[in-house]
């Protein structure tokens, strides 16, 4: 069984985000980019499943500009067997990505598609669910535990939901999106980095996959939230009541 893992190249989690002066987006030039943390967890899970013998191959997939290849190399250095890069320079929203992933699934025919639950740059939390809908596959999102049963062709997924933990049983093939507590991703060791150099990254374009990536969404403006005003220290209870009544109009 093949496992396909979708990974996204995003602004590094530890970087302080700045908005561009023309308010068209977030500053991404000259800023450290790396693999989305949830995608890393997804890849780690796929590798663990392969190491336990239940899968034959892990394919890392990414959609985006040419620098995505760096992120795919990281994935290969962690242990993925091959990678696929769909070259697309425009900003892609979840629906377009979901359509591209569906096209790739039709090509590769994996038994399991793993994604991170959301990307830390847009926090959409949509791609996994959309691609499951397009493929008509069962989905287990916010997975905090995944157990595969090869003979029965079933995946048991424990999900972290607001009310607690929910356990689902999914028929394979299925879509799983990962949450934080699923595992702790491994580091890329030097021997693996060396091996990764010889691994293949296949390139596709959206045209080759027959996918229309025109988006029906347009970002008009990106601004920082308004700076929090400093608090005021009042000298007496009367002054407090006066301020609440006359200035804040809450009583």
């Amino acid at each position: 069984m093949k496992i396909m893992v979708a990974i996204k190249r995003v602004v590094d989690y530890a970087v302080k985000i700045r908005v561009k002066s023309d308010k068209s987006g977030v500053e991404t030039s000259n800023v450290k980019m790396s693999m989305n943390p949830f995608c890393e967890i997804g890849l780690e899970e796929a590798l663990r499943i392969k190491e336990s013998g239940l899968a034959s191959e892990v394919i890392a997939v990414s959609v985006g500009p040419s620098q995505c290849v760096d992120t795919l190399r990281t994935g290969l250095a962690m242990g993925a067997d091959r990678a696929i890069h769909v070259e697309a320079s425009a900003t892609l929203y979840p629906l377009s990505v979901a359509k591209l992933l569906k096209a790739l699934v039709d090509v590769e025919k994996p038994g399991l598609l793993i994604l991170g639950k959301q990307a830390i740059d847009d926090d959409c939390n949509q791609t996994g669910q959309m691609v499951a809908g397009l493929l008509n596959w069962p989905q287990g999102t916010f997975a905090s535990k995944v157990v595969l049963d090869k003979e029965k062709e079933v995946a048991t997924v424990e999900r972290e939901v607001d009310g607690g933990l929910e356990t689902l049983c999914l028929d394979l093939p299925a879509v799983i999106t990962t949450d934080l507590r699923l595992n702790q991703p491994r580091y890329a060791t030097l021997p693996n980095i060396m091996k990764a150099k010889s691994k293949v990254i296949k390139k596709f374009t959206p045209q080759e996959l027959n996918v229309d990536i025109k988006s029906d969404l347009e970002v008009v403006q990106v601004t920082e939230p308004p700076k929090r005003k400093a608090g005021v220290i009042v000298s007496s209870v009367d002054e407090l009541i006066d301020q609440l009544k006359n200035e804040a109009h809450v009583i």
Partner: protein
């Protein structure tokens, strides 16, 4: 009464503590002290927070100072060195360097109410502090090893006020201790007896910053971390970085010629400080606050003040060159099979990585184990199998892909050449931080493992680990000897961990360590300074003639010897007046 205090101390301290010490009374507390080493660590990760002292007094003879903070107790499971910082009975029991029984120099006057009034006139009521709790914190050093008994803390807000204070103290022959963030490790920032503490912390303005040249001019009381954030916004970084940056002040950094993690790349403060303003013992203000990169007019006196640990003058303003901030930072954590490989790796790194190398640290197996066992959140980056040595390499450059390629090529080449047996390369900032967390968490972890004797030595790279191995042979099973440090700067941090403090073990360590270092023409204090702890040991690393000249310079700049007495120079030389 004793048991009551004892139980109270217990209640405040975690019950898992193994090292307990008895409270002792010292009626002659005011006149002499014993210096001892309690093996505290200063490094609680990359930022350290100042802690609140909780002072309990039981009667006038005994003072027990217990310093719990939530963070501190969470971090301190094993040791109970909290008991330190108390008066000690004069007796032969000592923990650290051979008993340095210092007597208070009688030429120094004692403070009286006229003095207090005079200071109040100069500084205003608020900045003349005699409050017990605040004094208590200011009297105790960061590691809780040394405690003075000063009765007066002054907080000047300008150079003029510092000048007036010193002029007055000089005329009255009142000893003073300049104090910054109080994070020093050799007892140089706290009073020995009742010296007046001059805390520069209120002088924390940034005066100017030139965005083109990166020259920062600021007052000496600016906290390093604040300066780092400030210049970061402008696209620059400070040339020094150390674990204590959350509390240490730039004036103190300069007075101790602090080294830190970036020295291998940006050099020492002697190279980065372009100018400073200092106040001499008699109140003269020396304005050497140039912002020029090159100025060859006369003797370059600022270098005297850099590293003089407050004994020649009080630094009040600083002008420092800050390097531009480079975007691409890469960190690799490697394993080597022996020390020779580490050395060869260092040479290769300097050659192959050259201009992008920004840190090169080594950790031996024993230190690594201690970290994995005692540090919260520490994770072995390498696949489980123990290696003998670990090396952390950091590169900083301007082009991400170029640097990564260069580093990868270097690492793979080293691996093929057998220098490196395994390693990992951080793929994002979090992974890089976790590698640094391991290296920076070593002092903290060692502290949790029990009592520790710490030494900071500069030894030629080829010989560095020989000392660690000799100490292991010497101490056998009685202690665990650990070595780690800035291999890139030939700086070894030798730590000897024992379940409890033991004079017999100490006798095996000192003066052997100092003699060994001296024999190999190393330095007994690479970056921590001399302070009080090593004042009488300076001859191990400097010739008698050199020390004599130092004493002459001290006499010239501070004839009454009021600035930070009993420290830096040996007592025999400095006390001539």
């Amino acid at each position: 009464m004793r048991t009551e205090m004892w139980r109270a101390a217990h209640r405040l301290i975690s019950h898992r503590s193994k090292n307990l010490c008895d409270p002792r009374w010292n009626p002659n507390f005011h006149n002499s002290i014993q210096s001892y080493s309690s093996g505290f660590t200063y490094n609680f990760g990359r930022t350290c927070k100042p802690f609140n002292p909780y002072l309990r007094r039981q009667g006038s003879d005994v003072q027990i100072c217990i310093y719990p903070t939530r963070d501190y107790i969470e971090n301190l499971h094993g040791s109970t060195e909290l008991c330190y910082g108390k008066s000690f009975r004069i007796q032969n029991r000592f923990y650290g360097s051979a008993t340095t029984k210092i007597q208070r120099n009688p030429i120094f006057s004692t403070i009286n109410s006229d003095d207090i009034n005079h200071f109040r006139e100069i500084l205003g009521e608020k900045n003349v502090i005699q409050d017990e709790d605040r004094l208590s914190a200011a009297n105790m050093d960061w590691m809780r090893k040394y405690k003075g008994s000063s009765k007066l803390l002054l907080q000047p807000r300008s150079t003029e006020e510092v000048s007036q204070i010193l002029k007055y103290c000089n005329s009255r022959c009142l000893a003073v201790v300049p104090q910054g963030g109080n994070t020093g490790l050799v007892g140089g920032s706290v009073p020995v007896f009742d010296e007046v503490i001059i805390n520069i912390g209120s002088m924390n303005n940034i005066i100017s910053f030139d965005k083109v040249s990166g020259i920062l001019v600021c007052e000496a009381g600016c906290i390093l971390e604040n300066l780092i954030s400030f210049v970061d916004n402008q696209g620059f970084i400070m040339p020094l970085d150390l674990g204590a940056k959350g509390s240490c002040q730039i004036g103190g950094n300069i007075s101790t010629n602090a080294g830190g993690l970036r020295l291998v790349r940006y050099g020492s403060l002697h190279g980065n400080v372009l100018g400073l303003e200092a106040v001499l013992a008699n109140g003269t203000v020396l304005d050497m606050l140039g912002t020029l990169r090159k100025d060859n007019t006369g003797y370059d006196l600022k270098h005297l003040f850099i590293g003089s640990e407050g004994s020649l003058g009080v630094v009040t303003k600083v002008s420092i060159l800050t390097p531009p901030k480079l975007s691409s930072v890469n960190v690799a954590f490697l394993a080597c099979k022996d020390y020779l490989s580490c050395q060869k790796l260092l040479l290769e790194a300097k050659r192959k990585l050259g201009e992008i190398l920004s840190a090169f640290e080594f950790i031996d197996n024993q230190s690594f184990n201690v970290v994995l066992n005692h540090l919260e959140g520490a994770r072995n980056p390498l696949p489980p199998s123990m290696h003998n040595f670990y090396v952390l390499i950091e590169t900083t450059g301007s082009d991400e892909s170029y640097d990564k390629e260069k580093l990868e090529a270097f690492l793979l080449h080293s691996m093929e050449g057998g220098l490196v047996s395994d390693g990992v390369l951080a793929q994002d900032i979090n992974q890089a931080s976790s590698f640094w967390h391991i290296r920076e968490g070593i002092p903290e972890s060692i502290m949790k493992a029990g009592a520790v004797y710490k030494y900071d030595l500069s030894i030629p790279v080829e010989k560095m680990y020989d000392l660690v191995e000799e100490m292991r042979v010497r101490l056998g099973h009685s202690a665990k000897v650990m070595g780690y440090g800035h291999l890139g700067d030939s700086n070894l941090h030798l730590n000897i961990s024992t379940p409890q403090y033991d004079d017999a073990i100490l006798a095996q360590i000192e003066p052997f360590v100092y003699e060994w270092t001296s024999k190999h023409r190393g330095s007994i204090s690479a970056e921590h300074g001399v302070g009080l702890m090593k004042a009488n040991k300076i001859h191990y690393s400097k010739s008698a003639e050199t020390v004599q000249l130092m004493a002459s310079i001290k006499k010239l700049l501070d004839p009454n010897g009021i600035l930070n007495p009993y420290k830096v120079l040996p007592g025999s030389l400095a006390s001539s007046s």
